[in-house]
Structures are given as structure tokens and as C-alpha cells.
Symmetry: C2
Subunit: 268 residues, 2 copies
């Protein structure tokens, strides 16, 4: 097979040797990670935020994240950042969406690939990072930190977008408080929560948010917290039955004060 030559008479090897990618303007690309956990009594979702020590949004809170390096995938960048901020490894990480709107970052043209991470406990993390209460209810999202005294509230409204013959439902957030998240990070949270809710019941993601063993009342509390609705005990137990196995022991639930059967996740 004769070597192919392009309109300038170059072979592929010659082309690549002379290739320069500076003709097109290039964006910066970051990863941002929504790290979710639950509090001790499984009554509130927790989200990991970092306080920005640089402009822009100096002093405001933001999702952990950072620039991707040329020798790593976005996934690896997210895992690295998560490890740097929390010390956690081998965590459930899911690519959610890539945000590209011009103007979303005042520094210039910056895209962000958003990841969702689920971790078992709000463990101690590096200075400057902290866990915040995340409350999601119909029509509103609130993010509050006890120590920092920060209180962020967003009104959520459903908006409908038409595209050809397809109708999209989207949530749009409006700030209704003094404090606010940096950049478009509230949008990342909304997108991630919507995606999490739609897949949570039919996946095993929940088990990443508890320890090795757990009780069914605790597990149910977790599902109810993430899904934002109450479940019937019988139906819930029927649903998780094929995924779990009794260890034979009895432990105290995190939620309530009574002993109940200890279960563990069945790895498939």
C-alpha cells in the first residue's frame, strides 16, 4: 500500500511532525466534583465544598475541582482531586455532564466536566474544605454550613425547552440568599442530583454511601433521603433483598435506637 499523501503532498508522519494546534483558540478544561455523603443520623445529605482562596469568587465556596493535566483522563483528574481533598480512593465516580457555556467563568473560556462522587461518611478533609448540609425540596435548594455560618438558598423552577419534537424539562436555579456558590456550580449540583435520583433505585450506588455492614432501616433512610420521598418498608425490603445478605449479627441502626439485623452487600 503506497503511503497516503494529503493535498500538500505530506505523508501522515510528516503532517504530524509539522502539526501545530495553535491555529484554533483553545479552552481551559477543568473537572468539578460533587462529593455527596450523609450525616451520622442519615437525616441530611452532605456536600463537600472548598473555600476559594483566589480570585474569582475569592472567599466564596465552590465544588472541589481543578485543571486536567495532559497525561491523565478527566476521570483520573477527578479521582486525583478527590484524593487530594478527602484522602479517599476507589470511590464511585460518574461523569455527569460537560458545561461549556461561554462566560460561565470570568477568567475566560473554561469548560468543566462534572463528576459525581458518593462517599460513606463526611470524613475529615484538608483545611479549607468542609461538609455542608444540602437540602433539596420541591422548588428550593439550600446549602448551609454550621461552622462557617454560610447559608445559601436557591429557588428552583421547572422550565420547559422545546427542541424539534422533543420537550426537555430542566430545573433553573435563582439565588435567593446573600451567600452563593461560585461559578455555575449550582447547576452542576442540580444536574447531578437529577441524574442520581433517576438511577439510584435501579443501581447499587447506595452501597457506596454506607460502611461494610448496615441495617435495613438505615439503608431505607438513605434511599428516602436521596430520592426525597418516603418508601414503604415492605416494598423497600423486597427491592433490596436480592442485593444484600444477613451477616447473622445484630447492630444498632444509625437512625433509631433499636437493634436490628446486620446486612452486607453482595458483590456480584
Amino acid at each position: 500500500m503506497p503511503e497516503k499523501r494529503d493535498k500538500n503532498g505530506l505523508t501522515e508522519k510528516e503532517f504530524l511532525e509539522n502539526y501545530t494546534d495553535t491555529i484554533y483558540e483553545k479552552p481551559s478544561v477543568t473537572v468539578d466534583i460533587l462529593v455527596l455523603s450523609v450525616d451520622e443520623s442519615i437525616s441530611k445529605l452532605k456536600v463537600l465544598l472548598v473555600k476559594r482562596d483566589e480570585h474569582p469568587y475569592l472567599g466564596q465556596f465552590a465544588l472541589p475541582g481543578g485543571f486536567i493535566k495532559p497525561d491523565e483522563t478527566a476521570y483520573q483528574a477527578a479521582a486525583r482531586k478527590l484524593n487530594e481533598d478527602t484522602g479517599l480512593k476507589d470511590i464511585y465516580l460518574d461523569q455527569i455532564y460537560t458545561f461549556t457555556k461561554p462566560g460561565r467563568d470570568p477568567r475566560g473560556w473554561v469548560m468543566s466536566i462534572a463528576y459525581l462522587a458518593l462517599v460513606p461518611d463526611p470524613i475529615e478533609c484538608r483545611a479549607g474544605a468542609g461538609w455542608f448540609d444540602l437540602e433539596i425540596e420541591p422548588g428550593a435548594i439550600r446549602i448551609a454550613g454550621k461552622e462557617s455560618g454560610v447559608n445559601m438558598a436557591y429557588k428552583i423552577k421547572d422550565e420547559t425547552f422545546k427542541n424539534g419534537r422533543i420537550t426537555y424539562e430542566n430545573w433553573v436555579a435563582d439565588k435567593v440568599s446573600g451567600d452563593a456558590l461560585s461559578f455555575d456550580h449550582i447547576e452542576i449540583i442540580i444536574e447531578s442530583i437529577l441524574k442520581l435520583r433517576s438511577s439510584f433505585e435501579h443501581s447499587d450506588q447506595a452501597f457506596n454511601m454506607v460502611g461494610e455492614t448496615f441495617t435495613l432501616p438505615d439503608m431505607q433512610a438513605l434511599y428516602e433521603l436521596v430520592l426525597g420521598k418516603n418508601l414503604y418498608k415492605t416494598n423497600f425490603r423486597a427491592m433490596v433483598a436480592p442485593k444484600v445478605e444477613a451477616t447473622g449479627g445484630k447492630i444498632k441502626s444509625r437512625t433509631k435506637g433499636k437493634m436490628s439485623a446486620e446486612y452486607k452487600y453482595i458483590e456480584k
Copy 2:
């Protein structure tokens, strides 16, 4: 409120005026679009490919795509590219996944945001672009073009990835033919097909692949083609019933030679 100053004593305005984003190396970012349609008799999926007239992969086929411009979103870039290649507007477009593996593009550090587009007919498109048969069966994907004589075949195997306590199932493609797609575009096709199949039944995406009116036998053929399995007539009709409305007319199905009731999509 006194203006916040960072550790260099700069206000946000001063910081941004002096900000330069050239400290970090930046990737190029493209969009690639998997444009799917069906043939006249709804017996084969069709995919739009363009013949590359530049290195790398000169002369090979690739998904349509291109670099994102600084003043547009990735969605707008995908819609623009699709319009340039096919003339179509207001088309269903869905962000699938962002591919970031180092080395996926021999020109250097190039990420790609993949979009899926569903269009009603394999309409005439610009020179250099053409519609190919796309056959997906358990264990294999084949892409073939009559005029071009191109025949691409990939063996698909299931691979299992473990991540924490979560197990991922993924398809991995191995080329088993002389011809091949450019870059990692076979991976984009696989990801998109998987996502399409998982959402197709419970969304209204199918209606983007037919005209204003259609018959139920045709619609069922389309569902069977995309999902890759046969459906029971009764169950299928019960499922689409709330989404469609009889016009009262009778037209010929595209699939078979008998008249049947004409339906249209109910816009909600």
C-alpha cells in the same frame, strides 16, 4: 462591603485584568456527532459518516464533528456542524459523554464531547458525507457503505470494571476488518447506542426519526430496530397509545404493503 483583595493585594477586577490562562497547558476540544436515521423500509439503521480529507486518518471515515468556537456552547457547535453537513435544523441532540483519554488523537491533546442526533430520513447531505448501514448484534458491530464499498466490522466483548463497590459493564470493540473508523469513534458509537437503548422506550425520541405522520406497524419496526429485539404487537400498541393520536386517515406503511391507520405524535 470592602472590596476583597487576594494574597497579592489585588481586587477581583485587577486580578481578571491581569489574568493569563497560558500557565496551564490547554487541550483542543471538539464535538463529534453520531447522526442516526433509518432506511426507507425501516430495516436498517443508518449512520452519517464523512470521509476525512486531511491527516490524520486521511481517506478514512469519521463521525462529523469539529472544533468548538469560543463564543458558542458545545450544543451550539454540534447543531452548527449538523446543519453544515445535512442542512437539518431543530433536531434532537443529546450530550452523551466526553472523551478525554490521552493519545486518542495523534495530533496531540484533544478532547471530544460526543452528541447523538436523531433525524427522520437519510436526506441528501454535503459532498464527502454519506449514509452507512449500521448493524448491531450481540458481539459485533458492522458499518457498511454500498457506494464506497467500505466494510467495517468490530467484535464487541463485555468487560467488567470494578470501582469501589460498584461494578461497571462496558463494551470493548476490536477491529476485525480492513477498514476502520478514525480516532476512537467506534467507542462513541457504542456509548451512544447503549445510552439510546436505555432511554428509547421511556422517552419520545423515536418520533424524531419519522415524519409528521406514521403508522403503528412502522413505529413498531423502528422500536424493534433500535432496541435490537422483537416486541409484541399488543404490548407495543398499549405503550405508544398515550403518545399518539389517529388522524382518521389510512396510509401505506413503509415496511409492509398493506394500508393501516395513520397516526401523529401528540405534542404535550
